[in-house]
Amino acid sequence: MGGYILKRLISAIPVLLGITVIVFLIMAMIPGDPATAILGSYATPENVERLNRQLGLDEPLWKQYFIWLGNLLQGDFGRSFALNRPVLDEILDRFSATLILAGTAFVLCAVLGVAAGVISAARQYGLADKAITFVVILGISVPSFFLGMMMILLFAVQLRWLPASGMYSIWGGGGLVDLIRHLTMPALALAVVATGVVARLSRGAMLEVLRQDFIRTARAKGVHERRVIRGHALRAAMVSIIPVLGIQAGFVLSGAVYIEMVFQWPGVGRMLVDAILKRDILLVQGGVVFVAACYVGFNIVVDVAQAWLDPRIKT
């Protein structure tokens, strides 16, 4: 197992490098030069040129990339001109908020989705199956941002159960209870779509597995049906569910962007959208690289979980 983890970690290095290349190339294609963007359109050509030299922009592209990469590795993500603070500081501040939101939603979607899928498959064509299928269809069809807005209308405006926005109350805020109250609606809204997808795939995976010969073997041994479903079948189905969970984590992280907008959640997603609208390139660049790197890390965890579950992978 240790060997596999190490192998997986090493194989992540080219992926991470690839990510930086892609991000760098995309950003290099942005029309106009950053110096003008920083200094404003009234800057004298001399000033622009001097800043370009300072920023290393007069160097060839590949050299610029290595300068930028070297800085990244030293934790220097540059400075956001719009916020006038180091990009990394801003990202770290914002990322914890996104992590709380997306992490909660991910756990919700994984647990609820797999459970719903298993129940649905075990009771195929039954009432529970039909009900779950209907909810799933609704879930994957509703835009999460619209769902979030409707939740605000109902639970914050009409019923006044939960706060409509933010992460903590402005006064008297802080503490776990306050966080949970603020977290409930956005996390649920974010989880709904992913839950639908996970439930659907889990149902399919379970149905596929339940037709396999080794399920018949388990039954022929006299294993109780409950154990056949929850043990033999679910374990085999997890082999195809876990990669889906890995992909869904990316979708949850993506959906967080909308939810952060709707619920004024102070996360990375909102930061990125603001940065794009303000053309704060370094902040976009740094944010994208940072989040993508975290996602790569998460996928290693997923792969290791998969290898732990399926002994056929490690060979």
Binding site: I137, I140, A220, K221, E225, G250, L272
Partner: protein, 620 residues
């Protein structure tokens, strides 16, 4: 095509989706000629009019623009962008996938590494980065959404293509002198198209959501032009004071995406042949029983099968897989059940413990008595307690019949502990003993192995050990050596023969090989078309077959040591069990058949030696 539509509309939800989506599309197409307000005509005096206001059916927005008109124009835009994105992503992704999957090797490796790289981004980061480069705008949002989805298509289609590229008909096309381009276009692509259609129809909804999302963030369509997403985005500021401005576009997105998804699922189901035959149904814990009444018990014996009828109900068709089969198995006896594929021998065997997959299997008649107790219709808990304890099974392919993710030791321990409340340590000890009994070397060490780490012969030994775990009285072996090589087959047969003699087991041995029957079985029963046509002591049946089918079957199988020769073939095909002729099922292929053979039911005559024929080859 008409079959496709019929299948599609058989699914009511898909039909509903098609109707709703059709309506929306028609309205969107007609929008320019409908009597609507201009969508961008502002009238600040009439801001935030409620729905059903005079002249504004759905009210107005924050600039006093007519919501109905904006909704219709926005729908047009959203639909167009969603479809376009799906089309672009689908076609580009499929092309990449087909090329990578077909050519394999380095092309595949390099392309897929690139795709993996793109998939290492949470997709919205990539979309945001693309919009950051191109600048906000609806077309740019479309490009971003399409590009972001290409990897998903490419991956999916590549997988399918790899499967097809390794099929034998591709080799055949090469040998027919076709080049790569022609093979790709005429052999591979036609088989990929349904998959691409399925993938697109199930992702269009998603694409519409995504473009709406980018617009919602202000990165898609720019004012005053509005798609549904940007309408929602603009309305968000007034969510509390004028909720209808949000609800109207939101509900429209929901409707579109839901109808697209329902229709997409319908298309997938209609195009996926596995779903068409109902094969994706989950088999129940025990075979369904629909029996009028049990036949009266006659005689004794360890296991008595009386007039068993097992059928498969698939749509309107009824396959009579097992048609009034009667068998008897005495303690310590080995009974061979021989027949070709589709003769019903395996279904007979699986019916004993209710293991026929259901749906579509149904036991419709007869009785199966174990020590006098009828098992058909027995409560599940009783059946379960007998499975593995009194009657154990050995199946054909030991790779697919052992659980791939459990160590074989654990699978044995489970088999023991299901029926006996012994400690884990005790069960483990017994499991090792069982592995030694089936002559697996280094049993203690091998117990920690997974099935894929063993050879076929070793795996089948594990299968046998598992069947022996609870000292059953009967073992039902369903073609246990068919998947094995001949030298391994000999080892397994010898092992089974030893075990049965040393433990006094009764074995019901299913096979299609007369040689195996001859070497292992005391008695043999021959099945054809779901019925037993002949039964008796093995040496007698083989030496002097009474039924013409048995005789000709034995004659057409070459036997080792007889040298080069012409074979006596049987003309025609085995019967389809959903359309059995009246009378003898073999009559259409039998040169001795007369009118009386085709007239009606023919009885299985005889006592120890039975034959179902009006003109037997020998008188038993």
């Amino acid at each position: 095509m008409s079959l496709f539509l019929r299948l599609l509309f058989r699914n009511k939800l898909a039909g509903f989706g098609a109707v709703v989506l059709g309506l929306i599309v028609v309205l969107a197409l007609l929008t320019p000629i409908l009597p609507l307000h201009p969508p961008n005509e502002t009238n600040t005096a009439n801001r935030f009019l409620r729905p059903l206001s005079d002249g504004h059916l759905l009210g107005t927005d924050h600039l006093g623009r007519d919501l109905l008109s904006r909704l219709m124009w926005g729908t047009r835009l959203s639909l167009a962008v969603g479809f376009a994105a799906a089309l672009v992503a689908g076609l580009l992704g499929a092309t990449i996938g087909v090329i990578a999957g077909y050519f394999g090797g380095r092309t595949d490796n390099v392309t897929m590494r690139g795709i993996d790289m793109l998939m290492a981004f949470p997709y919205i980061l990539l979309a945001l980065a693309i919009v950051a480069v191109l600048g906000p705008g609806l077309f740019n949002a479309l490009v971003a959404v399409a590009v972001v989805n290409i990897p998903f298509f490419a991956r999916n289609i590549r997988g399918v293509t790899v499967g097809i590229a390794h099929r034998e008909f591709i080799d055949a096309a090469r040998l027919a002198g076709m080049g790569n381009t022609r093979i790709l276009l005429t052999e591979v692509v036609p088989n990929i198209v349904p998959v691409v259609v399925i993938a697109m129809s199930t992702t269009i909804g998603w694409m519409i959501l995504e473009t709406a999302g980018l617009s919602f963030l202000g990165l898609g369509s720019q004012p005053p032009q509005a798609d549904l997403g940007s309408m929602l985005g603009e309305a968000r500021a007034a969510l509390i004071t004028a909720p209808h401005t949000s609800i109207v576009p939101g509900v429209m997105i929901l409707l579109i995406v839901m109808s697209v998804n329902l229709l997409g699922d319908g298309i997938r189901d209609a195009l996926d042949p596995r779903l068409r035959s109902g094969a994706l149904s989950r088999p129940m814990a025990a075979t369904r029983v629909k029996r009028a009444e049990a036949p009266a018990p006659k005689g004794d014996g360890l296991l008595r099968i009386d007039a068993l009828e097992t059928q498969f109900h698939v749509g309107p068709r009824i396959y009579r897989a097992v048609n009034r089969v009667s068998l008897q198995l005495d303690p310590g006896e080995c009974l061979g059940l021989i027949g070709e594929s589709g003769s019903g021998k395996s279904v007979t065997a699986l019916s004993v413990m209710g293991l026929v997959a259901s749906p579509p299997g149904v036991i419709t008649g007869g009785a199966i008595r174990l020590n006098g107790q009828d098992l058909i219709g027995a409560p599940y808990e009783l059946l379960r307690s007998l499975r593995g304890r009194k009657v154990a099974y050995i199946f054909q392919d030991p790779l697919s019949t052992l659980h791939p993710l459990y160590r074989i030791g654990d699978q044995l321990i489970e088999a023991i502990r299901v029926h006996e409340p012994v400690s884990h340590a005790e069960a483990h000890r017994r499991a090792i003993k069982l592995l030694e009994d089936v002559r697996i070397p280094n049993a203690a060490q091998r117990a920690r192995a997974y099935p894929h780490e063993m050879s076929g012969g070793m795996r089948q030994r594990v299968g046998i050990a598992m069947a022996l775990a609870n000292d059953p009285e009967i073992i039902i072996a369903d073609e246990p050596t068919t998947a094995l090589d001949v030298t391994v087959q000999a080892q397994i047969l010898a092992l089974l023969d030893d075990l049965r003699r040393s433990r006094g087991l009764a074995i019901l041995f299913i096979t299609h090989d007369f040689g195996v029957v001859a070497q292992l079985c005391d008695r043999v029963a021959v099945m054809y078309g779901g019925r037993i046509v002949e039964a008796g002591p093995t040496p007698k049946v083989l030496a002097a077959p009474a039924h013409p089918y048995t005789k000709r079957l034995i004659a057409c199988v070459p036997e080792l040591g007889a040298g080069r020769r012409a074979l006596a073939a049987i003309p025609g095909l085995p019967p389809a069990v959903d359309d059995l002729p009246p009378g003898c099922a073999f009559a259409p292929r039998c040169e001795k058949a007369r009118d009386s053979c085709r007239a009606g039911e023919i009885a299985l005559d005889g006592d120890a030696r039975q034959v179902r024929c009006l003109f037997p080859e020998v008188t038993p």
